[in-house]
Every structure is written in C-alpha cells, then in structure tokens.
Amino acid sequence: MDNTQQHAPGLLTVSPSPHIRGRDTTASIMFEVLIALTPATVWGIYVFGTRALLTVLVCMATAILTEGLLELLLHRKVTVNDGSAAVTGLLLAMCLPVTLPLWQAALGAMFAIAVVKQLFGGIGKNFMNPALAGRAFLMLAFTANMTHFTAAYDRVWLSAADCVASATPLAPLKQGLLPEATLTDLFLGKTGGCIGEVSAALLLAGGIYLLLRRVITWHIPVAYLATVTLLSLIFPRIAGAPLQSVAAELCTGGLMLGAFFMATDYVTSPVTRGGKLVFGIGCGALTVFIRYFGGYPEGVSFAILIMNSLVWYLDRAFRPRVYGKGKQGGASRG
C-alpha cells in the first residue's frame, strides 16, 4: 500500500530546530491573566454597581483601540489579538474609584498604551507597568477624583453625581486607628476602595490560579507580601495590635492586586530568581515606607513603579552562574 506517490511532497520546509513548540503563547498567557482577574472584577461590579462595569469596559475598549490605531499609524504589526492591551485596560480599571469620570478613565487608558507602551516600542519594550503608570498619571492629574471613594454596597448605577464620599480603610490606618470594617470584611472585600482592589480573598484566589497555571512564579508575590508582613509586624501602625495591623495592611489598598498582578508583569519585572526576590522585597519596603511616611495613604503603585526602573540592574546583578563556568567549572572566560 504505497501511497508515497499520491502524497509526494513538493518543496519541503527547511527551518531551524526545534520543530515543535510548547503550548503557551503570549495570547494564552494574557487570557489566563484575564481569567484570574475576573472574580475580583465581578465582585467589584457587585459591590460598586453597574458603573463599575462601565468603567471596566471603557478602559478595556480604549486600551485596545489606542493600541490598534497607534500600531496602524506607526506601521507596526497590529497586536491587539495578543490580549495585552485588554489586560492593561482591565488592570487600570481595577485600580480606579467607581466615581471617576469616564472620560478621565479613558484618558488614563490612552496614556498607559500610547505613552508608556507604544512610544517605547510596543509590547515587551516598556520599562514601566502601563496600567500603574496610567493610574499614576490620573492620580497626579485628577487627584481629587482619584481619591474620592464610595462605600461598599453604595452602588452607583450610571451617574456618579450624588455619591456620598467614604474613606478607604487606609485612611484610618494613617492615623493609627483600626478601620471601621472588620478584618473579615476587609479580607472578603466588603469595604470601600477602588473597583478591583477591595476583595483580598478573590485577588489571592486569582493569584494562586496564576501560580498553579505557572503563569507567574512565587518569588515576587511571596517576597513582596512577606516584606510588608514583617515590617508591619515590627512597626505596627495600630499601637499594641501588631497582628491586626498586619492583617489590615495586607488586605487593603490594592496590595494583593499589586503583589500578584502588577509586580509580576513580565516586561517590567526581573527574570532571574534572585532578581525577583529583591524586586519583591523592594516593592514591599517601599510600599510600607510610602504608606507610613508619604503624602498619599496608598503606596503600592508608586512602590512598583520605582522598582520597575531597577529591573535592568537587578537582572544583571543576579545573573545565574553558567554551567561549567566559575566556581565549580573552574574554567576561565574564553
């Protein structure tokens, strides 16, 4: 039964090895991140109302459109299918208050994609986390709007006109007081704050999902959270209640969102194990420093942005020892 003639090959493909590839692609990884962020986002929409959904949609749509249009204008390959712009849009929306005017949210998404990402060369080339840089931009440009929060279950339908202002749990911490909400409520997310940052539990679940799917490694989040834990245990802000202080610091202010989803952004974090650990420790220390001494109650985003700028050095400082070189190998550099 020789059908070699029937299926005789024409020109054969000659390309370098390897001839097979692993399953993961940039798009599949971004999709995993979107899945991991979904529970916390849905919770945010549940406690803050449909306006939160609107904010999410506006940010994602603006990010995707900005990316596509700019790439067309810059004659680059249009990469909106890789899902990274969608992730940036969603992450930005998750760290915005629900009452922020939608045009300002859109402006933030545009800034994140156009200035932080595309102007530096597109995916893989930016040195700052686009979503966090977008948030920082909004924070500086529209400080009042960015620090105006509503209480949980004080749902906003569409217009944010007549909302009652409410502080995030970080504000009382700044004065050394326990937040009004119980620690359980803080953990579950029954508190005021940004759309996607309130439920530490669901963010933790999403983070564990990313760990199990091997999208991220444990080094950065563990180093980050451990540093915050340790520092707030030694220097508790609530006098005489170190454990409650630790719990409050961990569950508030987007720390979980930052540790699992922002600080682990591939492009803007180190690749080496040692680099990742130091990066996480640095993020943790700076977060605590800004929270304790800074002008803003919240330190996660600026802490990560500062550490982003050190990635290049961290990767070089913690370069692994090459097999057969150095101590054990004993061979000198050729």
């Binding site: 039964m1 005789a8 390309s15 001839h19 390959k77 995916i123 591939y266 690749v271 080496t272 061979a331």
Partner: protein, 467 residues
C-alpha cells in the same frame, strides 16, 4: 517515591512517544541504497570501490586515509552504479556511493567473529575492531567511537551508558532495551574491558520503567563470568535535555564539565545504548555498522514504528515501508524534533546518526512558523528559567540579532548547547536558539579570521627574517 537523578533547568517537553509499543521490524532492503562517505565529524572517507564493482554486505566501500574518521561499508549486496556528489541537508556537497541491491544479501567473507575471547583481547584490538566496524556514536552527535574510546583509556573512571532518549518521538533505544538488552550489555563488556574498568551506569528516564526492568532482569540473568562487570541502572527524571552529556554527567556524578571541555576531562565517558549494541555485533559477529534502528513517525506516516533500516535507505523508501504517507509531508526531520535537522530532499538517506525520521504535515508545523523579526520578547523569563546551561537566552538572542558579538561572548554564548529548550518554551515565538547559533557562527568565523591573520603575520615575519 525513590529519588531520581536529574539536573537544574530543562523542561518537560511534550513526549510524542507514539511508537514505544512498536517492536523493531526488519526492513527488507530497498532496491537502491545511497551511502554517504561523510556521515559525521571527521574526514570524509575515500571510495575503495569503482562503478560497476559488485559489493557484498559488510564490505568496506570507503576508507579513511588519515585523520579522524570511520570507514564506510556496504549495507546491501549488489552493484555499484554511481559514485556521485550531492549536497547534504546543510548544503554541503558529500560524495555518495549508490548501490543497486541484488536482493541476495550476500555477506562479505571478511565478516566473521573476532575469534579470541574477550579476556584475551587487548584494549588496542578492541579499538581496532570498533574502528574497522565503522562505529560512530549513534545518539546523534556521531563522534567516531574508536577515537573516543582510545582517548579515554587510562583517563576516565566513570562509564555512563546514555539510554535517556530525551528527544520527543524517538523510541529506538527504548525498543532496543526492551528487546535486546543483552546486546547492550555485551557491548558494554567489550568497552569496559578496553578501558580496564568494572563499573557502569545505564541511565534511563523514568518514562521507560519497562526498559529499566528489562535491563535489570538481563543484568541479573548474566552468567557469573560476565559479572566482572558491575552494571547498575539509574532512573532519571524525564526532562529534556537529560540525554545531553553535560546534563547526564551532572545528574549522575554532581560534576560539571568545564566550558569547552569534554566529559573525559572530569573522568567520564558516555556511550549511547545502540552504540554498545553495535560494538557487541562487531566483536561477536564481525558485522560492521550497516543498519540501525530508526523511529519512523510524524502525523503523515500511515504506520509509525521502529525500523531496522540499512544505512543509505532514502526517506521515501523508509516511508513506503511504513505504509506510506497519509498526508503530504511539509517537513522531514532527520533526528528528534528538538535538535534534528529539517531535510530538503526526500531522496536523502538514513545515516549512522539517524535515530528518527519524522514526516510532519503543514498543519503540524504551523505553530512553529514564527513572525521572524516581528516576534516580540515579553521578558517572561521562561528561556532563562529552563536553560540547562543557566544562560540568559533572551539576552543572548538580542545580542545575536544585533550582531553584538562581544556582548554575546562576554555572557557565555559559546556555552550554549543549542538544545532548543528556550525556543520551545518561548510564548512570543522568538527563534531564540537560532539567533544564538548565528552569533556563535559569526564568533567562530571571527576567531578563524583572526587566527589566519596572525598566522599570515607570523609567516611574513619569518619571510623577512630569511630574506
């Protein structure tokens, strides 16, 4: 769970071991074989027959005049119809001897057992038996075995038999261990005798536990006389590239081979399982290396399997023996999918180093088609996380792409073993290992040019001296 030997880095690549239950089948020799006179590292052989000559199975048809290399033998009996030059898969012209098979399978009279028992054979005699049998490493790197052996006598204390078979698809060694473990052990006896050693470790990955059992049974069943050899089977964690000699040495001994050195420099020598079986055949039957086990697989093949194929069998004949193609092959790979070479000619042939031939369809290879320069690294670090040499492939690839050769050299680009784990794991589809190969090639060329320049300078200086 027992502790398994392993190394740092690497990754579990998809196995595709579809043919592990396919027994080795003897292929009736095709009507025509075309035997390349250069099949591996070393000098090409020079033809010792002429067009029109009748040749017999096992007869020398190409011999090495001097230098490193192996003689080449006829794999069938029949008439030499052409001695021609054709490019191999790397575009290098290679002389080939084409033999029309007469179907008689008549064996050359010089093919006979060595005669003396092993205990009365000298190490030099064993080296010579291996050389005249034309045996070169059958795991893929195809270094002439006699040269490896003679260089190691008195120098090494650790003998490792590489049965890892970490490349996806390939099951040739696996079937050999299941079906003929005594052939492997017989070859080991001869090799150890030449080396004056008594201990040997057979390294098998844990995805072949039936082979581990088969080897252990065969070792236990040996006659007391053969038990001068103490053979142990080491179970290795299934992880690519476990079969790379640097990784196998580290996994078993904890030693690293220094950059640019060989296993012998840390007292180790490694032989492939099928190489041992070939040594066994050469010693006890006198039969040179004239055929080998080839895993024939890929989504285009009707009946994938393990075929004992004569050296010189074309890819087309091999496929025909396995029921032909059910889809049109878009790519033919000689070797495994991680390090094997894509072929451009369906009439090119099985050589001593061909452990597998894969026939892959358009559809199968689609995910490997890259965006080329447009593929954007997302800095995920998987290449660095999985690199068995602990390099930073993402950076080396960047240097290769930008021809930043000094940077590449400074960060140890020459240590790359080109296993392809980085490219396999790259979600962005960057051809990482290819950029690295390019950098290595340019560096080698630069070093050669510098050396030539220095030599010219030296000879000029000499000339002026005498003038």
């Amino acid at each position: 769970m027992a502790l398994k030997y392993t190394f740092r880095g690497g990754s579990h690549v998809r196995e595709y071991k579809n043919t592990s239950a396919c027994p080795i089948t003897h292929m009736h020799a095709p009507a025509v074989v075309s035997i390349p006179l250069s099949q591996h590292i070393g000098a090409p052989a020079r033809p010792t027959v002429a067009v029109g000559d009748r040749v017999l199975v096992g007869q020398v048809i190409g011999e090495i005049a001097q230098g490193l290399g192996c003689p080449v033998h006829a794999s069938v009996s029949g008439k030499v119809v052409a001695i021609e030059s054709r490019n191999n898969s790397f575009g290098i012209p290679v002389q080939r001897i084409r033999i029309e098979n007469d179907g008689l399978d008549e064996i050359h009279p010089e093919v006979r057992p060595f005669g003396k028992p092993l205990s009365e054979t000298s190490p030099q005699e064993i080296v010579e038996i291996i050389r005249t049998a034309g045996i070169s490493g059958m795991g893929g790197a195809t270094f002439p075995t006699h040269a490896k052996l003679s260089g190691a006598i008195g120098k090494v204390d650790t003998v490792i038999i590489n049965c890892a078979e970490c490349e996806p698809f390939i099951t040739a060694n696996h079937r050999l261990m299941l079906e003929h473990p005594e052939d492997i052990l017989g070859g080991i006896d001869a090799l150890l005798h030449a080396l004056g050693l008594h201990d040997v470790t057979l390294a098998v990955e844990d995805n072949k536990m039936d082979a581990v059992e088969a080897l252990r049974r065969a070792i236990a069943a040996r006659t007391p006389a053969a038990q001068a050899v103490r053979a142990t089977v080491a179970v290795m964690k299934t992880k690519y590239p476990q079969g790379d000699e640097r990784q196998i040495v580290y996994a078993l001994t904890g030693k690293e081979i220094p950059a640019g050195k060989l296993p012998a420099d840390v007292g180790c020598i490694i032989f492939n399982a099928e190489t041992c079986a070939a040594v066994n055949r050469a010693f006890y039957e006198g039969m040179p290396l004239r055929r080998r086990i080839v895993t024939v697989d890929g989504d285009c093949i009707a009946h994938p399997g393990n075929v004992l194929a004569p050296i010189g069998t074309s890819y087309a004949d091999l496929a025909a023996f396995c029921g032909g193609w059910i889809k049109t092959p878009a790519k033919i790979v000689n070797g495994g999918p991680m390090m094997g070479a894509a072929q451009w000619d369906v009439n090119d042939v099985v050589t001593k180093g061909t452990s597998a031939v894969l026939y892959l369809s358009e559809e199968f290879i689609r995910p490997t088609i890259s965006d080329g320069e447009a593929a954007a690294c997302i800095h995920c670090g998987r290449c660095a996380q999985h690199c068995p040499m602990h390099l930073m492939p993402l950076e080396l690839a960047k240097y290769g792409r930008e021809h930043a050769l000094d940077d590449a050299l400074r960060y140890d680009v020459m240590s790359c073993v080109e296993c392809g784990t980085c490219t396999y794991n790259c979600p962005a589809g960057v051809e990482i290992v290819q950029y690295i190969r390019a950098a290595k090639g340019l560096l080698r060329a630069r070093a050669a040019a510098e050396k030539a320049k220095a030599a010219q300078k030296a000879s000029n200086g000499e000339g002026s001296h005498h003038g």
